[in-house]
Each structure stands twice: as structure tokens, then as C-alpha cells.
């Protein structure tokens, strides 16, 4: 679905990138070739997606979030996913500590008192209205920052955002005087952010984007081919996300409090709200340091609570949740018909991706050659919380000068839907032992048309060279370890009842099998000869696939004259 038309001329636009999350939102724009993530008037770059009405005043972001403790009935949070949905299709789980969603004539709505007066009638605001008001605050912050009125935006959305949800978002934005230039998918936006780095070569690769947020985790497997991006598989998980880690800490400290005071602070809404806020702070602190404090004034029945936790303990009590992220990523790769060995890069995006253990766990399931782009595993990592908005800002600057009509046509499905190669296309070359090895030139899942050039060594002594163009695909070679000696003793596991026996499981797996990705030569497409190469020469092979799946081959000795060309 394309942009809403506000009648703006391309040259009058001032565009930004926006991420609108259930938990947090961000704004950014391109300033002199660099993306600037905008800090709002509170100094926040991750701006809580919360709106609050207290004493007739509207608050948003961090201030509104703080009201979750004292003014939960006047505060709306976790509403993004409700846009464009019917009441029966929404999950109100995360709204238990703020205004609950309700069904008002088919529209998901929130009821609160906007006005200060005691006797003022409560208003019922649709999720569209709430979104609109919230977006207005974001745009105002961006405009204030830039010193000019922001008119337009590229907004990121999850890959499973329906057409209905998209239209609802465009409408809500329009009501806030904001033109939506384009809605782009969150995972690809994160990839764009990385590819904006000049040192990142534009190579073909398989990228897994794990967008781990506050209320949901979205994982996508993306084929990046010649600077074009194709999503191969996605998964959306509402179980393993930031809130589940908050809950781990809430339960941990609540138990501690119960031990001391025999009061369960989780039973009181206000205490629980306090626990939630502090748990999130502690969780963030544990992403940076090895120890974190946890302290709440008057947690329950006027009793203050103060404690600490170290990272190891946190990772132990959170083991089940932390393991869930790894399994989620694995399942999406499988869904894409791929193997971890096929993945070149894992981009960890979203606030929860700051968690070191999640990145380390992922590191362990991928081969060395896969880069895991997260703060704790890569020096080149970009702040995961800013990835999506950076990509949106880049895309905004790319298209802000184009007419709405033009953008609509460019993003039309007739333009975006194209054939992708099932197999790789490459050349048969020789390995060190003279064995035939398939060298891919055009990777599988490359969209057509496509063109790639590769240079090879000619045979050492020179002479006539055979260029055999073939299809190829990979399979995984598994080298099993020696079968382990059968354990004769009983298999009853000691069942310590604490959470502490968590490390035990790892020691059970003895030697692991070795896995290796191997290219297999498929059917031959063409053969060509380059004659009379000099000793030590290089041969350049160019393959061009047409939109009609025609294959053009050009081979020549580098620096030599002529060469061979042919078309299949």
C-alpha cells in the first residue's frame, strides 16, 4: 500500500524516518550524509510508545511511561499492534497495567479522562486517534530538533503488518498532518542501516535479522543479492521478548521479597508496576555490567526493597527465556530451507538485542564465518535500538524528492515481484588436488535480471582453458563423531529442585558432529573455451541472466584480446 497523498510537492518535503514500536519509537533523519537519531526534549532516542493524560495535560514518552505507576488508568501503552485490527483479533496481555483496550463499535478503543475537571466525562479514544496523537508528538519533537516543520516520513512496520493495518497507520499519520512516503519492513530497514556504512562492501549474502523487541520478536531470513533484498522466511513470536526477561527479574526479586516479608508484591497492581519499571532498568544495566542493583522505595505496604544481582545469576534464572531466542532463530532458518551454515550475517536488532547472552548463544549455533552483529559480539555493531530507524531515515532521504505517484509505481507489486533463481549458477574449477569444484558466480535466490563477474586463475602453464557453466546447489555434509560408549548406569537425573542445575545439560553433549557446506555441481548449462592463455594469466567470466531467463556468458583472458561469448 502506498503513501497517503497530502498534496505535497516533492520539493516542499521535509522527511524523517520513524519506527513506531509497541514499546518504543524513534525518529531520525539524514543530516549531511549521516543518519542522526533524534533525541526528543527529554533527551531520549528510544521514546516509550506511551501516552498519558494527567490533570488535563498530555504526556508522551518517558514521562508518560513513569505514570504507569501512579496513573495507570490515565495511561495508554502497547497499542501499535492494535491499529487496523478488530477487537477480537487483538492480544490485550500487555495492557493489564494501563488502560485496557475495549470494543467501541468495532473499533479498538481506550477510555480515559482527558480533562482535568473532576466531573469531566471520560473520553473513549480509538487506537487510531491515540496513534495519531502520539505521532504528532514525535513529529513535533523532530521538527523542533531540525528547526523546520517535518512533513513526511518513512515508517517501519513488521513484515506481517496487513494491508488493513498499513492503511490504518497512513490514516492515523494523515490525521497528525504527516505524509507517509513509504512503509518499509523492519528487518530490511535494519539491513539498510548496516549497508549505509561505506566500509561494508555490497556483497551477496544471506542475512538473518533478529528483531527482538519488548512485546514481540520478529525474525526474518533475507537474501541480499546485488543490493536487492528478498525476504525468504519470517517468524513472529509473542512469547520470547523483552517483557519475558523483565518477568524473570520480577519473579526473582518478588521471591526474595516474599522470603523476607512474606508479602507477594506482584499481587498489588501498583507494586507490580514498580517492579516492572525497576526490572527493566536492572535488565539494561546487566547488559552493560556484571552487577546491577535493584531498589524500589516503598515496594509493598510501605516497605523499601533493595537488592543486587549479577549477570551469571540473571542468565541462570532467565535460561529458559534466553534459550527461546536461539530456538526461534533456528526455526526460521529451517523454515527458509536453509542451514545455519548458509547464513553469512546475523543482525541483532531491537532493544532486547543488547542482552549479551542472547548474542553469545547465537554465536554458538553458527559457524565462525558468520558475523553476529550485536554489541557484545562485534566491534562493528550499530546500536540495535537504532537500526530500524536509521534504515528508515536513509530510505526517506532516498525518496523524499520523488513524486507520490512515482513512489507508488516503483513499489507496485508488478515491479517487486520477479523470478528468483532456485539454484546457483557458476563455473567448474579445480581444487588443490585437481578435483572438480563448483564455484558459484550467481547465488541462489538471486532475482533476475542479474549480472556477475568473477576472475579465475588459468592453468599454471597457460594454454587452452575450459569454462564449464553449470547450475549448483549445496548440501550439508555431516561427519559423525565416534559413537559414544553406552552409559550403563541409570539415567535418573538428579533433581535438585532449584533453578541452579541449569548448566548440567551442556556437559551431556559430548563431541559434536562436524557439519560442512559442500557445493555440488548440477546440470551443465554451457561450455566455452578460452584459447592460448599466458602462463599465470587470469580468466574473467561474466554471466548475465536476462529477465526472460536467457543466459549470456562472456569469457576472456584478463588483459587479452577478444574472448568468447555466447547466449543460451
Amino acid at each position: 500500500m502506498s503513501a497517503g497523498k497530502t498534496g505535497l510537492k516533492a520539493e516542499d518535503r521535509k522527511a524523517i524516518g520513524i519506527t513506531l514500536g509497541n514499546s518504543n519509537s524513534s525518529i531520525a533523519y539524514l543530516k549531511e550524509d549521516n543518519v542522526e537519531v533524534i533525541a526528543n526534549e527529554d533527551g531520549d532516542r528510544q521514546i516509550p510508545t506511551v501516552l498519558s493524560y494527567v490533570d488535563g495535560d498530555e504526556y508522551y514518552g518517558q514521562q508518560a511511561k513513569a505514570f504507569l505507576v501512579r496513573q495507570p488508568k490515565q495511561t495508554v501503552a502497547y497499542f501499535r499492534d492494535f491499529l487496523g485490527k478488530e477487537f477480537k483479533d487483538i492480544d490485550p496481555t500487555h495492557n493489564h497495567a494501563s488502560v485496557h483496550p475495549e470494543d467501541a463499535n468495532g473499533a479498538v478503543s481506550f477510555t480515559l479522562k482527558e480533562k482535568a475537571e473532576e466531573d469531566a466525562a471520560p473520553s473513549t479514544l480509538s487506537v487510531s486517534e491515540i496513534t495519531s496523537r502520539y505521532l504528532r508528538r514525535l513529529v513535533t519533537a523532530a521538527s523542533d530538533y531540525r528547526g523546520e516543520k517535518v512533513t513526511s516520513a518513512v515508517i517501519t512496520v513488521p513484515t506481517n503488518f496487513s494491508e488493513k493495518q498499513k492503511s490504518a497507520l497512513v490514516e492515523a499519520a494523515a490525521a497528525a498532518d504527516l505524509e507517509v512516503l513509504q512503509m518499509i519492513s523492519e528487518p530490511v530497514s535494519a539491513i539498510l542501516a548496516y549497508n549505509a556504512k561505506p566500509e561494508v562492501a555490497n556483497v551477496d549474502k544471506i542475512v538473518v535479522v533478529a528483531d527482538l523487541g519488548g512485546t514481540r520478536s520478529d525474525v526474518a531470513v533475507v537474501a541480499q543479492r546485488g543490493g536487492l533484498y528478498t525476504i525468504l522466511a519470517t517468524e513472529h513470536d509473542y512469547e520470547f521478548a523483552g517483557y519475558a526477561l523483565d518477568k524473570v527479574l520480577i519473579d526473582h526479586f518478588a521471591k526474595e521479597f516474599i522470603k523476607k516479608h512474606s508479602i507477594d508484591p506482584r499481587e498489588d497492581a501498583r507494586s507490580l508496576a514498580k517492579l516492572k519499571l525497576e526490572a527493566e532498568q536492572t535488565k539494561k544495566a546487566l547488559s552493560l555490567g556484571n552487577n546491577a542493583s535493584f531498589s524500589i522505595e516503598s515496594l509493598a505496604q510501605g516497605i523499601d526493597f533493595q537488592s543486587t544481582i549479577n549477570r551469571l545469576r540473571y542468565e541462570t534464572v532467565g535460561r529458559t527465556v534466553l534459550g527461546g531466542f536461539t530456538r526461534l532463530v533456528e526455526s526460521v532458518i529451517k523454515k527458509a530451507g536453509l542451514d545455519p551454515l548458509d547464513v553469512d550475517e546475523v543482525i541483532l536488532s531491537g532493544g532486547t538485542s543488547h542482552t549479551p547472552r542472547i548474542a553469545h548463544n547465537l554465536r554458538a549455533i553458527f559457524p565462525e564465518s558468520t558475523s553476529i552483529l550485536a554489541p557484545s559480539t562485534s566491534a562493528n555493531a550499530i546500536n540495535p535500538s537504532e537500526l530500524a530507524v536509521r534504515g528508515a531515515a536513509l530510505q526517506a532521504s532516498l525518496i523524499e524528492g520523488r513524486e507520490a505517484e512515482e513512489i507508488e509505481q516503483a513499489t507496485h507489486p508488478a515491479v517487486t515481484t520477479v523470478p528468483h533463481l532456485t539454484n546457483a549458477i557458476g563455473v567448474v574449477s579445480l581444487g588443490t588436488d585437481g578435483e572438480e569444484i563448483f564455484t558459484p558466480i550467481i547465488a541462489p535466490e538471486t532475482s533476475v535480471p542479474a549480472r556477475r563477474t568473477v576472475r579465475f586463475d588459468a592453468p599454471q602453464q597457460g594454454g587452452d582453458v575450459l569454462i564449464k557453466i553449470a547450475e549448483g546447489n549445496t548440501h550439508i555434509k555431516v561427519i559423525k563423531p565416534e559413537p559414544k560408549v553406552k552409559s550403563t548406569n541409570a539415567t535418573v537425573e538428579d533433581a535438585k529442585d532449584s533453578d541452579d542445575d541449569s548448566e548440567d545439560e551442556d556437559s551431556e553433549e559430548e563431541e559434536e558432529e562436524k557439519r560442512e557446506k559442500v557445493w555440488k555441481v548440477g546440470s551443465t548449462l554451457a561450455e566455452a573455451a578460452v584459447r592460448g592463455t599466458k602462463s599465470g594469466a587470469k580468466v574473467e567470466v561474466t554471466i548475465i541472466i536476462g529477465a526472460d531467463l536467457s543466459v549470456k556468458v562472456e569469457c576472456r583472458e584478463v588483459g587479452g584480446k577478444g574472448g568468447v561469448r555466447g547466449t543460451i
Partner: protein, 447 residues
């Protein structure tokens, strides 16, 4: 577009005799493609779009067509996971979560241990959308959130791999009872493989090792069947029984009491585990006992053994017969040789005797000749002269062989005239003297 990549691998030399017009040969075609949707972002996409659009305008109709062509990536709710909700279940008290059927609560009772994590998550979300207390309140139903709590508990258990295994360990609904005798005998055991396959497939859920061999059927090889029983007799199971623990008393109770209960639980778990191992072993025994394949392989083995034995015996017999025949042949040959030798000997003897007789006869001729010549005397020969002549005849006889005697006798045979006789004798003596067999004057009377 993309940078040229250099691969440090050599290309093969052109094979001898490779030839093609303009040095290029078409062989095949690209085998497959999938229509997918490119994300309309990034600078290179804009170039792609510009190339494709090229002053065209795409319509709503094109949109629909393209969307139908494109492979779907988002698989929103397949509707597959939904089972009717039993009113009894809906009325459950969340406090009794330990005895609830977590799979049934989430509506995935038909999947049980086979449910993927993804299915569990989707099922849970579906239940949340329906049973969240806010939804119920909106629908004018009671605020009772008991079943919602059951849902949350089920989700908590099933999404925790450790807890899920504990639950799966005691999930009776996933159990497949071993087939009864009657089932097995039905239509001559026609269902044997099917029934046991089901049992072992269910038992396989507890396996630490994968893949788990299948029970197979009548076409399974001996190797497969042996591997199957070997696997199951050494089954490495993760089944455990902590879910059947009795509650450990709360903090309020005495420490000793608590410890006592924990110990009791631990022992109970061990006992159940041992019982389960025994149960499984019995199951395998039972399956094996009735497994006609085992009998078949035994028979085949026996048959092979018998055949080997028979072959060996036949070979032995044949060898003995051959030896016997050989021996007989040899004996026969020996006998024949002996008989021949004997015959030869007799023939020889006869010839010898004949020769002897001939010599005797010839000798008589010789002696007779000198008698006929009157011992070369004129008038009556004196006994001394007779003796001398006869002595000389004997001397000559002794010097010559039977053939010469024969020849001599032949010459003398029909002679009656003394001088002729004498001449023959004289020739003979001369011959012998010439040959050095007689000395000059040794036989005066015949010279």
C-alpha cells in the same frame, strides 16, 4: 553493480579434442525459479524499478496478479490448530494445573509431543485472543479468569523444554498400549508390523538418540531388524517422573520433614524410572518373541548352515569316491602291468628255451658234421683223434654266440663230404682267429 570477485582457484585445461563453433557450446537451461517479492528499498531497488517501469503504468489488476504470483512468506494462522473446547475443561480450576492436560488446554491434543514450538506458540496466541479476561468482559461473559490461567500455565510448561519433557514423561494420552494377543493374531498376524510400529514410534519420543530405527515390516533386512532390537535393548531414555512427586511441605514446616519428603520423592522417581526401563524391556521382549522375521532369519541361517553341511558331506563323499576310483584304477594298471610282465617273462623263457634248443640242435649239427667227416680221419678214427676233434669243436662253440652257431650249423647242415665240412670249419676258425677270438693253433684239428 557488484564488484568483480577474484577466486584463487584454477580453471581446468581444455580437454583434447574439445571443439565448438566459435568456441561456445550450449548444453542446458536454467532449471527453476520462484516468484518472490523484492523489498522496495535501497538505492539499487530504485534503479531496478526504473528499468522495469520504463514509462509503463501498472494497474490494480497488475497488482492482484503479481500478488498471486509471489510466494507467500507470511503464514498467518492456518486455522489448523483448533479443537473444540470441552466445557469440563473450561471449568477447570487453575490451582489444579498439575493434573491438567496442557495440550488439550491449548487445543493441540492431537499433536502432543509432536507439536512444534511454533505450533504451541500459535495455539497459545489463539487461546489468548479468545480467553483473555478483557475479551470475556467485553463479550459480557464472567470476569472469571480461571481458564485463562490454565492457558498460561499450559503455555509456561510447554514452552520450557525441561518442563515439557517432564510433562511428556507422564502424558498418558500419548501412550500407545502394546497390542493384545487377539489383535496380533487377527488375520494371521497381518497387522503385526503396523501395531508394533505404532507402539515403538510412540516410545521413541523418549529417546536421547536420533534417528530412532523403525520397526519395519516383512521386507526389512536382517541387518535392519537386528539394528532395531539392538537400539531398543540399549534404549537411552530421557523419561523422568518428577511430575508425580508429592508436594514438599511449605517453608512453615520443619526442615526435617521437608528433607524427608524430598528424599522420598527422589526414591520414588528412581523406582518409577527403573520400572519404566523394565516395562520397555518387556515390551521389546514381547515384540521380539512374536517377530516372525527373527524366526525367518533363524531358519534362513539354519538352512544355510544345513546346506553348508550337506555341501561339505557331498564334497567329502565325492572326494572319497574319487580317491577310491583312483586307487582302483591304479591297482588295475598295476595288475595289468604285472600280468604283462609275467607274459613277457614266459615268452622270454620260451624264446630262450627255443634258442637253447636251437643251440643244442645246432651243436648237434656241429658235432654231427665232424662225425660225418669221420673226424677228418682216413679209416677208422682213433679215440684220441675223435677226442681232439670234439674238444676243438667245443672250444669253437664256446667262442661263438648262438647266432653264429646257427649260421655255422646252417653251413654244415647238408654237407656230407668230409673236405667240404672241413673247409667250413677251417673258414670259421680262420674268421675267429682274424677276429682275435681264437689263437693260432688253438684248435689244430679244425685248422
Amino acid at each position: 553493480m557488484t564488484a568483480t570477485i577474484t577466486i584463487s582457484r584454477a580453471l581446468p585445461a581444455l580437454p583434447q579434442g574439445w571443439e565448438a563453433e566459435k568456441d561456445f557450446k550450449k548444453v542446458g537451461k536454467i532449471s527453476g525459479t520462484t516468484e518472490r517479492t523484492i523489498e522496495p528499498v535501497g538505492p539499487l531497488f530504485l534503479s531496478h524499478a526504473e528499468r522495469l517501469i520504463h514509462k509503463r503504468t501498472f494497474s490494480e489488476h497488475d497488482r492482484v496478479q503479481a500478488q498471486e504470483r509471489a510466494k507467500k512468506i507470511e503464514t498467518e494462522d492456518d486455522g489448523e490448530i483448533s479443537e473444540p473446547e470441552d466445557p469440563m475443561m473450561l471449568a477447570r480450576d487453575a490451582k489444579d494445573w498439575k493434573t491438567q492436560d496442557h495440550y488439550a488446554v491449548l487445543g493441540i491434543a492431537k499433536y502432543r509431543y509432536k507439536a512444534t514450538e511454533e505450533q504451541i506458540k500459535k495455539a497459545h496466541r489463539k487461546k489468548v485472543l479468545k480467553h483473555h479476561p478483557d475479551k470475556k468482559a467485553a463479550a459480557g461473559r464472567t470476569e472469571d479468569d480461571n481458564f485463562f490461567k490454565c492457558i498460561q500455565k499450559a503455555n509456561e510448561v510447554l514452552l520450557d523444554p525441561v518442563k515439557r519433557r517432564q510433562f511428556d514423561s507422564i502424558d498418558e494420552k500419548a501412550e500407545v498400549e502394546p497390542p493384545s494377543k487377539k489383535d496380533l493374531q487377527y488375520k494371521d498376524g497381518k497387522n503385526y508390523y503396523k501395531l508394533w510400529s505404532k507402539v515403538f514410534r510412540a516410545e521413541a519420543r523418549f529417546s536421547n538418540n536420533h534417528p530412532v530405527p523403525e520397526f519395519g515390516d516383512e521386507n526389512s533386512t536382517q541387518e535392519e531388524v537386528e539394528a532395531f532390537y539392538d537400539f531398543w535393548y540399549n534404549f537411552d531414555s530421557w523419561r523422568s517422573f518428577e511430575m508425580l512427586d508429592e508436594d514438599v511441605p511449605d517453608d512453615g514446616e520443619s526442615r526435617d520433614q521437608k528433607r524427608h519428603q524430598e528424599k522420598k520423592n527422589l526414591n520414588a522417581r528412581k523406582k518409577r524410572k527403573a520400572e519404566d526401563n523394565a516395562r520397555l524391556r518387556q515390551l521389546v521382549d514381547q515384540a521380539m518373541a512374536g517377530d516372525v522375521r527373527i524366526k525367518k532369519f533363524k531358519q534362513q541361517k539354519n538352512a544355510a548352515k544345513n546346506k553348508k553341511k550337506a555341501d561339505k558331506e557331498a564334497a567329502e563323499k565325492k572326494a572319497a569316491e574319487e580317491a577310491k576310483a583312483k586307487k582302483e584304477a591304479e591297482e588295475q594298471a598295476k595288475k595289468e602291468a604285472e600280468e604283462k610282465a609275467k607274459a613277457d617273462r614266459e615268452a622270454n623263457k620260451k624264446a630262450k628255451e627255443a634258442a637253447k634248443n636251437a643251440v643244442k640242435k645246432n651243436k648237434r649239427v656241429l658235432k654231427g658234421s665232424v662225425k660225418d667227416a669221420n673226424y677228418f680221419a682216413t679209416g677208422d678214427a682213433s679215440p684220441a683223434a675223435i677226442d681232439a676233434v670234439l674238444n676243438d669243436v667245443e672250444t669253437v662253440q664256446a667262442k661263438i654266440d648262438p647266432e653264429e652257431i646257427g649260421a655255422l650249423a646252417g653251413k654244415l647242415a647238408n654237407l656230407k663230404v668230409a673236405d667240404e665240412i672241413k673247409a667250413v670249419w677251417q673258414d670259421e676258425v680262420k674268421r675267429l682267429v682274424d677276429a682275435g677270438k681264437l689263437k693260432e693253433g688253438e684248435v689244430k684239428s679244425l685248422a
